[in-house]
Symmetry: C2
Amino acid sequence: MPIKTTQTPAPFDCSTCGKRHLSLFKDLNEDELGELNNVKACTSFRKGQIIMGEGNRPNGVYCIHSGKAKLTRMGQNGKDQIIRFAVEGDLIGYRSLLSNEPLSASVEALEDVHACYIPKHVLFGFLETNPKFSLTLLHMACHELGEAGKLITDIAQKSVRERLAEVLLMLKSQFGINEETGAIDIALTREEIANMVGTATESVIRLISEFKQDEVIDVKGRHITIIDEPALLRIGKVFD
Amino acid sequence: MPIKTTQTPAPFDCSTCGKRHLSLFKDLNEDELGELNNVKACTSFRKGQIIMGEGNRPNGVYCIHSGKAKLTRMGQNGKDQIIRFAVEGDLIGYRSLLSNEPLSASVEALEDVHACYIPKHVLFGFLETNPKFSLTLLHMACHELGEAGKLITDIAQKSVRERLAEVLLMLKSQFGINEETGAIDIALTREEIANMVGTATESVIRLISEFKQDEVIDVKGRHITIIDEPALLRIGKVFD
DNA sequence: CGATTAATTGATACTTCTCAAATCCTGTGG
DNA sequence: CCACAGGATTTGAGAAGTATCAATTAATCG
């Protein structure tokens, strides 16, 4: 059974990759881009597949070309906690490589994902010779660190109800809305939402029905539409 | 009123600073160290003073020479959340500078703090010319990112009781124990502990008495001694 | 030694979790 | 296309954990 449906040098060409400007590879010069293109290995993952497993030590990073993935940590009783999402242009596994620690989270494809694998030594090569590249990566890491701090404060101080409102708003801003349906453009199970909020699945279900009852959101299965955004902002006590 | 009691070029000499090997400045060459020594400004802060204020945009970073500080974010109802601590050798404010965002947390001295101020342009100069320095900073940032992820999972999934047990263990491992008393070598108010755990002060008080009742810890005012560490590990469900 | 601030305790209300049972989907193989 | 298995979702009821408010005592700092 083919876990990976593709494993060839270059379905995508880095120098013409439309996603490059999204990623930190925008700072590479022509030579480096050529090297990147030569050594990278493009791979596909099907929905549900684990791209990287928590606790492992990766030998490189993935650059996501298309598709969405979730980063989860295993918590109590096998309950996952969703830390964040990775979308096109995002780099996966760099935290582990750079801190020289095992992966602190698993990465699972939420839909079919195309990604390019870049070996560790190539990444470190860029870091040692291209200061701009390092700075961009530092910028990324530090930004994420700020986001993590915000999340810590939120989870620690807000109620489940407030956190759910915030999560819905965050999903909208990260994934956008579907042009046809107007719904948030990501289909998550109730359990996955619960794993973001950090609560029981039943609690999420009850609160979602409540929001629907109050006409703050509209729900069709896994497709959620935000009707009254100001109300959600109020419920989530989001000020900035 | 002197907010800063010292503001002179060099109470401490970087090249002989015993704390240097603790910090990321261990990777600087002699020239760079000389430059650092020339431009840095050493400063003192008294207990309770704000070293950096959330929302501000710093023009440099502080390297802590001695003393302890807490990093807090303002949350709901003016309630603080303690994100982490900074101790000697730690760099403060680098996240904000490198991500080009306002400070995501305030830094407050928990005891008298001596620190050296390093202007932004000097830090960026090192980053552009010394790849090893960049790598070390990346290493630091990525490590912190992992810690933040761990904290997110913990806060989201563990009960207040479990989190308190964990916090006590964390305090011991970060600050060590006092040789004379055997107590954890940091004096925090009940409120500060509550702000770490993310709960109400009264809840911390009740749980601390409970732990004391069960002879897991001993308490003398703000000085807490861990008596039965295995029990705390069990209560906190700490496995790694 | 006052005056504040911190710590403690009690009572009560509220949120959220857990367990159990029922219903609804969804993809799959016949 | 249909029936079915297994997972996902929903609902209910009761228990547990925490928060909140108020009142009291203890500690700390000029």
